[in-house]
C-alpha cells in the first residue's frame, strides 16, 4: 500500500523493457512521472476550488455548491466547461504576444515545483540535491509572468496590480528563504528527500522552538507569495478590479487561477516537507500522510481567507521587513544555539529552553519596536 504508486511505475517500466530497448525504459520512466504530475496539478487545482468554496461557505453559515453532482463534486468540471466555452477577449491595444504568453509562463513554474515535492517514500519525481533552492528559484520566475500579464494588458489597473504583486513577492521571498535556512542548518542538505528522512521518529522540526517559528514564518510568507488572502493586495477588487488579470477571460483567466491554487498547494506541501515531517507518520501509507498534512495547511489558508480582512500596502511591507525578516534572522541564531546545546539529541531541556527564551524575547522586543503610533484618546471637556 505504501509503495503502491512506485510499484505501478516500476511495472510500467518493466513492461516497456520487455518489448523495447533499455533506453526507452528510461524515457518511459520520465514520461510516467511527467504525466502523473501534469495530471495531478490540474486535478488538485480543480478540487481545491471546490474545497475552498465549501469551507468558506461553511464558515459563513452557507452550504456552498451542492447542485452539480452529489455534494457538488462535479462542480469543477462544470466550471471548466464554462471557462472553455467563454469568449476569449484580447484588448485592442494589448501587446498580443505577451498577453498570450503570460498565463502559460505563470502556470509553468507552479507546475515545475511539483517535481521536487516528496509525495511519499520514494515518490519524489526528481530528487535534486538542490531541491529547496530549485523551489525558491522557480517560484521567483513567476514574477516575470505577472509582469508580462500586467504590461501586456495595456491597462492601468493591470500595471498597478502587477507592481503590487511583484513588490510583495520580492519582499516576502527574503524572510521565506531565511526561514528555510534553520532547516538546512539542522539537516545539512538541500535535498527535499534528505530533509524528510531527517525528520523520522517524530523528530518533526515543528516541535522545536525554532522549527515552530520557522514554520509560521515560512507559511505566512508562502501565503503572501501566492497572493492569497489576507495578502491579496495584487487582486484587491475594491481598489484595482482584479489586478494583473483584469483583462483576461475564459481559459486564460482559469490558468491564472490554476497557478494560484497550485502554488497554494506547493507552498503547503513545502511547509509539510520542511517542518511537519513530510510523509513521515505512523500506520497510514506515506503518501496519505503527506496529503493529510498538506490539506490541513490548505485548510488553514482557507481559514485565513474566511477570517482576515485585506492588509494595507504599508502594513504588508512593514510585516515583511520589520517583523518577519528580523525574526527569521534571530531564528537562525536560535537554531545554532539549539544545535550546539542539543549535542545530536533531538530533545534536551537546555536545548529546548534557551532558544525558546531567545525567540520569545526577540518576539516581544520586535513587537514593542513595531508598536504603531497610537494617539492619546481625545477628551472633549465641553461635552462631559
Amino acid at each position: 500500500m505504501d509503495q503502491m504508486f512506485v510499484n505501478i511505475k516500476a511495472a510500467l517500466v518493466g513492461l516497456s523493457d520487455k518489448v523495447f530497448p533499455d533506453w526507452v525504459g528510461v524515457l518511459v520512466s520520465i514520461a510516467v512521472s511527467i504525466v502523473a504530475i501534469a495530471l495531478l496539478g490540474p486535478l488538485i487545482m480543480m478540487y481545491l476550488t471546490l474545497i475552498e468554496r465549501k469551507v468558506v461557505a461553511r464558515m459563513q453559515n452557507r452550504i456552498g455548491p451542492n447542485r452539480v453532482g452529489k455534494y457538488g463534486l462535479l462542480q469543477p468540471l462544470a466550471d471548466g466547461v464554462k471557462m472553455l466555452i467563454k469568449e476569449d477577449i484580447v484588448p485592442r491595444n494589448a501587446d498580443k504576444v505577451l498577453h498570450l504568453l503570460a498565463p502559460i509562463l505563470i502556470v509553468a513554474p507552479a507546475l515545475l515545483v511539483f517535481a521536487v515535492l516528496p509525495f511519499g517514500r520514494n515518490m519524489t519525481a526528481v530528487d535534486l540535491n538542490v531541491g529547496i533552492l530549485f523551489f525558491a528559484a522557480i517560484s521567483s520566475i513567476g514574477t516575470i509572468g505577472i509582469f508580462m500579464a500586467a504590461w501586456g494588458s495595456n491597462n492601468k489597473f493591470s500595471v498597478l496590480g502587477g507592481m503590487r504583486s511583484v513588490a510583495q513577492m520580492i519582499s516576502y521571498e527574503i524572510p521565506m528563504v531565511m526561514s528555510v535556512v534553520p532547516v538546512l542548518l539542522a539537516v545539512g542538505s538541500l535535498s527535499t528527500n534528505a530533509i524528510v528522512e531527517a525528520q523520522a521518529d517524530w523528530h518533526w522540526f515543528v516541535f522545536t522552538p525554532w522549527g515552530f517559528l520557522g514554520c509560521v514564518i515560512f507559511f505566512l510568507c508562502g501565503v503572501a507569495e501566492c497572493n492569497r488572502s489576507p495578502f491579496d493586495l495584487a487582486e484587491a477588487e475594491s481598489e484595482i478590479i482584479a489586478g494583473f488579470h483584469t483583462e483576461y477571460s475564459g481559459m486564460k483567466f482559469a490558468l491564472f487561477y490554476m497557478a494560484e491554487f497550485m502554488s497554494a498547494f506547493t507552498i503547503s506541501g513545502m511547509t509539510t516537507t520542511l517542518f511537519l515531517g513530510g510523509w513521515q507518520g505512523p500506520l497510514l501509507p506515506s503518501w496519505l500522510w503527506f496529503f493529510l498534512k498538506t490539506y490541513g495547511l490548505i485548510f488553514i489558508m482557507l481559514w485565513f481567507r474566511a477570517t482576515l480582512p485585506r492588509l494595507r500596502v504599508d502594513q504588508l511591507m512593514a510585516l515583511a521587513w520589520k517583523f518577519l525578516l528580523p525574526l527569521s534572522l534571530v531564528n537562525i541564531v536560535a537554531t545554532c544555539i539549539w544545535h550546539f546545546l542539543s549535542d545530536e539529541a533531538f530533545f534536551t531541556p537546555a536545548a529546548f529552553l534557551v532558544p525558546l527564551a531567545l525567540l520569545v524575547f526577540s518576539y516581544w522586543g520586535l513587537m514593542k519596536l513595531n508598536q504603531p503610533y497610537m494617539p492619546e484618546k481625545r477628551v472633549y471637556p465641553l461635552v462631559d
Binding site: V26, I138, S140
Partner: protein
C-alpha cells in the same frame, strides 16, 4: 545509452540556439520591455546549460539571483519609468561602434580559452573527480575566501544603508 545521450545533446544544442536567438532579441528589439524579457530568457537558458553539465547549484543560483532578483528589478524600473512604452521613444543609442570594439576584445580574450577546452561534452573519464558540492562551496567561502566574502558583505551593507538614506523622506525643518 548513446540514444539518450543524443537526445540530451539535441536538447542542450536547442537550448543554446534559443539562448542565442533571445540574446540577439535582447539587443535588437525596439521595445525596451521586450528586450528586458528576452534578456531574462537568455539567463534562464544559461541556467539550463549549467544544469545540463551538472552544476545544478550554479544554475539555481543563476535563476534565483538573476531572473528572480536582478531582472525583476530591471523590468520594474522599465515599468516605473514614464512613457517608455510609447512608440516615439528611441530604445537604441548610437554607441554601436564602441560596443563592437569592446565585443571584439572580449572575443579575442575568451576565444583561445574556448578552443583550449576541447570537444563537448567531455567524456566521463575526464570529469572523474567529483564536481564541487554545495558543502565544499560553503566551506571554501568560510575558510579560503572569507576575506572577499566579508568585503562583499560590507559593500552590500553599505549599499543597503545608502538606499535607505536616499529613500528617506526629508523631514520638514
Amino acid at each position: 545509452m548513446p540514444q539518450l545521450e543524443f537526445l540530451i545533446k539535441c536538447g542542450v544544442y536547442g537550448l543554446m540556439g534559443l539562448g542565442i536567438i533571445a540574446a540577439v532579441g535582447a539587443v535588437l528589439l525596439p521595445n525596451l520591455f521586450h528586450a528586458g524579457l528576452a534578456l531574462a530568457f537568455v539567463l534562464v537558458t544559461i541556467a539550463g546549460i549549467f544544469m545540463s553539465v551538472g552544476a545544478e547549484f550554479l544554475g539555481m543560483v543563476q535563476i534565483l539571483l538573476y531572473v528572480g532578483g536582478v531582472m525583476t528589478l530591471i523590468i520594474y524600473t522599465i515599468m516605473l519609468t514614464g512613457r517608455l512604452g510609447a512608440k516615439d521613444v528611441r530604445a537604441q543609442n548610437r554607441q554601436g561602434i564602441f560596443a563592437a570594439i569592446a565585443a571584439g576584445f572580449f572575443v579575442c580574450w575568451i576565444g583561445p580559452l574556448i578552443l583550449k577546452t576541447g570537444a563537448w561534452p567531455q567524456r566521463e573519464s575526464d570529469s572523474a573527480p567529483p564536481l564541487l558540492s554545495v558543502e565544499d562551496l560553503g566551506m571554501s567561502l568560510m575558510t579560503e575566501y572569507v576575506f572577499p566574502f566579508e568585503v562583499l558583505g560590507v559593500l552590500l551593507f553599505a549599499v543597503l544603508i545608502g538606499a535607505i538614506v536616499i529613500a528617506r523622506q526629508d523631514r520638514p525643518s
